[in-house]
Symmetry: C2
Amino acid sequence: MRLDELGEFGALARLIRDAGALRDDVILGPGDDAAVMRFTGGEDLVVTTDAFIEGRHWREGWLAPAELGRRLVAANVSDLAAMAAEPRWALIQYGMPRACDIAELEAIQSGVARALEAEGATLVGGNLSSVEGARWLSLTLLGACSPGLVWKRSGARPGDLVGVTGSPGRAGATVRLLERLGVDECASRFSLLLDGFRAPESRVAFARALAAADGVSAAVDLSDGLAADLGHLCDASQCGVELDLRSLAPDARLEAAAAFLGIRADELQISASDDYELVLAVSPGSADACASLAARHGVPFAIVGRITEKSAGRVLVDANDARDWPAGFDHFAR
Amino acid sequence: MRLDELGEFGALARLIRDAGALRDDVILGPGDDAAVMRFTGGEDLVVTTDAFIEGRHWREGWLAPAELGRRLVAANVSDLAAMAAEPRWALIQYGMPRACDIAELEAIQSGVARALEAEGATLVGGNLSSVEGARWLSLTLLGACSPGLVWKRSGARPGDLVGVTGSPGRAGATVRLLERLGVDECASRFSLLLDGFRAPESRVAFARALAAADGVSAAVDLSDGLAADLGHLCDASQCGVELDLRSLAPDARLEAAAAFLGIRADELQISASDDYELVLAVSPGSADACASLAARHGVPFAIVGRITEKSAGRVLVDANDARDWPAGFDHFAR
């Protein structure tokens, strides 16, 4: 049934029904003017928000509605992972056209609810607005962290090593393949990349264990591209950085995509966005412990550079040539 | 300078600069992956979110950018007031076209920051996305309430009286006048209504004092229209209600608008939306205390009906005729 047949309050009732089970600390969940949660003292509250815009973050058919919900959660979860915080509660906002079918919203919402549940988190509220033009979704994710354990972007110091989780570049490569090939051909020729794009993994458990073990001096969510996000970390930390392209793990899936797209795989690794991974500044003495903790959590992890003095600038080290530090994804760049 | 000239990160740097002073309990404000706040135990966390869509909540020229920011805050603050909660921290999201000038965003943001500051609250983060088509803004507001003091929609009982703050109908009347007359003529002929629309008042201090004094059994934010929001309260409380139109205070400003628009003033009072006021279910013994507390806070307050058994349904009492219970604003109604 279309939203304008069901009406706002009929639609909200359906969405509230699909919000999933509530955490025990939720005193008042969706359906009132606000949500109420019991927050015991001794922890800090950590909050982030991120929006998905149709045409930029997804296009028709790229993602099943539940996968779209899952990716939206992943984008926010990776912000909390980059703080070493534990996700707990979320609010979802939908900007949807009047002709949208409630079944589609329910499917998005079930994807959101399941992805939150996998984190031990709960949907506690939200909002539904009618829009003309591009649809959008927005999630606000609330979590907690022990005081003093939170990772900031600003803590990196010269001599720290730079670690990165996952396989940077794959999400951005997949977006380019989807744009070039359309969804069906992308699915048949690059199914593993597409599968990964549709089901990003959470780095929260790894981050929480790593924060407890100490050794990380700064962290940033990898979402604008490795070089760009490392640049954000260096801006906040007032440091320079040396990123060694030779230390990026070879990635056969990415190389196949790069060959098809006619670009270098390492360009994707350093510049492509939307990976929802972590970039970490690690003290040299902790790099081995960090790598073995990653292995124990099944998280791909590599040391790919080191933090330097600010005066040394930002340097890409390559076997063959010197390269300019690339710009990352910018919503407003022309 | 246009957003696509400045770039996302240049624009964010400007907006972060304009976010205003931080509360002392903010450990990490705008600019990192998430915001971090110290939340001492012994209180409950209360969270709401509300979006404004261009074309629906505002049109070009209706509101100066700072007034738009102020109204967005007011819409969210009234949700927390309806919980008797205290606003503390907020995240703002912008969906803006690439051609948008940063000066306009900065002006919106200064309105948001000032309106939050008046509540003792702080902007701690946000997000900036590019959109094609209608612009939108979204705020998530976090606050706190002592356990057990929070007002829910579901607590009303037969015999409770229904109170309402402010002058219901004025905001919706102003929207209709703006649509009909345009902003210049509306400003010259209905300046006091337009002034009120541009600067909605907070009911938080009144709500907090009233919650401490006890006597309110249920509350809802007045934003979809008095009859509709009272209906939400009755749905949640499993009650009926009798709304006595004769007890609605005569409102000369509203009557002038109604006469111009060719509709009855009491239609606007019961059906028009966007007032950001409070609807309260009050135990009969507390009605006088409630009224004098309202007077002390300079808040217009009237008892306009009473809660009944669910079987009695929803009744509009009028000197002349019986009327159907009206529908409220619905984002998706045709």
